[in-house]
Amino acid sequence: GCTKKSDNEAAGATTRAADQVKIALVPGGAHPYFQPWKDAATKAKADLGLADVTFNETSGWDQTKQNDVLKALAAQGYNAFGIFGVAPENINSTFEDLKGQGFPVASLASCPAGDVNKADFCLSTDVELAAYKAGQAAVEAMGGQGNLVHLTGNKVDSNTQRRIAGVQKAVDETGGKVKLLQTVTDVDKDLQSAQKAVADLLAAKGTQIQGIVNTAYNPAVAAAEGVKQAKLPIKVIAIDDDQTILAGIRDGSVAGTVLQNPVGQASVGSYALTKLAGGCTVTKPGVVIDSGSFVVTKANVDNYETDRQAKTDELKKAFDGQYLSCQ
């Protein structure tokens, strides 16, 4: 009769010393957010004495392509992976594939959709919390009342749904003093559509709006620019610390921004992956860890980096003491 080979006979995990570990950091595609990963990768390689750490952003926001990239990297000898999954809804199968080959896998900067994480751990911004903080910052900048608009990315993305929930929560807490006038989705694909959407929005309702909170990059850039140009007294809360946005905070056109911790994700992620390759195990497989989010305003625009560094150090300690168990 016909028999089927057992599924997980190859999955015997091998341990590797640090100088045998080759880590691949793979974002979902090209995005300014991931740029700090490059430097963090170089630094991790030197600090941890790794064989190699590479950064590959050629996935093009396509899960199929990302899977190809990952397999190509594995074929090239990379044996530990930090991944931002393009499609949170089916990234778990990709994680399982890689784990099946005996590689440690980290879900970085985003966790799979649903409650299950098949990677060893997920180190990511708690997007709902970050959006909540951004919402709060916006409410505060608006003086606790008025109309707020939320600009965000791809509607069919579980992270977008979380962000919408986070902002909604912050608005709800004002007890009706702040009204969420509109949530505009799908304006993160490219800068020009974002600019057009912002211009049209301001043209239609500019005078009724007191605050704009952004939870995606392109609309944040467009909103900062658009509000400045329209000379409207609207408070803009942006996201991340791209140069353009920091400049906006300094010149006052942006009221604040919510930072995430890409460097921490890459460096702590690499650290944990190295440990896992060396024989450690995660105490709670699939654990989800918040890499932190920080509100930056004109007040702390020049020294927020210390807070972030502190969070990163704290994360590393938490891995040593709490998330990893090593013999």
């Binding site: 080979k5 050629t58 199929t64 190809d68 089916n90």
Partner: protein
């Protein structure tokens, strides 16, 4: 009417043939476009495996490569179906997505077995294709415009549907056999000690599709009549071919194949999600065109399409292994494609020279 009329008529039947065929009209083997592709393909494989021996890694390169080729060969065939008419289907990707949505819904909500869901999804793809064909044949509006507009409409519809029927953007439930399709190769199945080749389970789907399409255009009246319609719709109409129906059928088959491609991609990726088909449009043209199918209609090459799809995927794989960064990657893909396309031109020029001397 008994009068006898006269006319000039040759004494002998025209047996003495003046322009005696000096050589058969077929092109020499070396000038066959498919052969050029094969040579280029072999060249690239040799190049890549010299530069990166990992190119020959079975589990990480060759098996996924075959799975990808299967998807894109079927995508190419979906486009080929309408190229045969001289039409285009700008909505291949979205038709695939709609089919995949139907399959996902069937598996998730109705718990149907794999083949049933597949049939349901393919039926949806077929219907969408038929709709496009119907609009085109009824109104006479260019297929490019109709399918482009349909594509626009479906982009919206798909998201609306997914947000309505799933909480995320993908269906969670699917039959367990989907996992086998995704993970297994025939090498995992053994009779005694004899195991199958290292070929993913999705490959036969693509092979069957390619064979069926080949059979269709070569032997089936339907396929032949589609080709005749593509060559000269007016003459086809006057030869008794129901050209309107053929247009609808070709587009319906295009939708069906798009649906199959969507299924294969879902199998490869492990989920029926809204993003299926987003990247289908450009590869759908590359396969057939690299394989020598013109956009003008009336002639198709199935083998060429499969080879074209193979070539593009090999290029992707190779460049991935060479670890180019994004800007270089795109640059080289474009350049290699241009070279592959121009090679055909060089071959033509050579063939013409030879032909002229003969």
């Amino acid at each position: 009417m008994s009068d006898q009329t006269t006319t000039v008529t040759p004494e002998a039947p025209p047996a003495a043939e003046p322009p005696a065929p000096r050589k058969p009209p077929g092109i020499p083997l070396w000038a066959n476009p498919r052969l050029g592709l094969v040579v280029l393909l072999i060249g690239l494989v040799v190049l890549f495996s010299t530069l990166r021996p990992a190119f020959l890694n079975t589990a990480l390169t060759l098996v996924p490569l075959q799975a990808d080729i299967s998807v894109y060969a079927v995508v190419g065939l979906a486009q080929l179906m309408v190229l045969s008419l001289g039409h285009m289907n700008m909505a291949v990707g979205r038709m695939a997505a709609m089919s995949a949505f139907a399959m996902g819904l069937a598996y998730d909500r109705l718990d149907v077995p794999l083949p049933v869901g597949l049939v349901i999804g393919l039926a949806v793809g077929t219907l969408l294709g038929a709709l496009a064909g119907l609009i085109i044949s009824r109104t006479g509006v260019n297929s490019f415009v109709v399918t482009l507009a349909l594509d626009f409409a479906m982009i919206g519809l798909i998201t609306i549907l997914y947000t309505r029927f799933t909480d995320g953007v993908a269906f969670s439930g699917q039959p367990t056999s989907m996992t086998a399709l995704r993970n297994d190769t025939f090498a995992d199945y053994c009779i005694g000690n004899v195991c199958g080749p290292n070929v993913p389970l999705v490959v036969p789907f693509a092979l069957v599709a390619a064979l069926a399409v080949g059979l269709l255009f070569r032997y089936a009246r339907l396929g032949r009549e589609i080709l005749m319609t593509g060559d000269n719709a007016r003459a086809a109409e006057l030869s008794g071919i129901p050209t309107g129906t053929r247009v609808v059928q070709a587009h319906a088959l295009s939708g069906l194949l798009a649906g199959l491609a969507g299924f294969l991609l879902a199998a490869n990726n492990g989920a029926f999600s809204a993003s299926i088909g987003e990247q289908f449009l450009l590869p759908s043209f590359l396969g057939p065109v690299l394989g020598g199918t013109l956009l003008a209609g009336g002639a198709v090459s199935i083998l060429g399409t499969v080879l074209g799809a193979t070539l593009t995927q090999v290029i992707y794989k190779g460049l991935n292994l060479l670890q180019f960064q994004l800007d270089q990657l795109k640059l080289y893909i474009g350049l290699v494609l241009l070279v592959a396309l121009s090679l055909d031109r060089v071959r033509h020029v050579l063939a013409e020279r030879r032909g002229a001397q003969a």
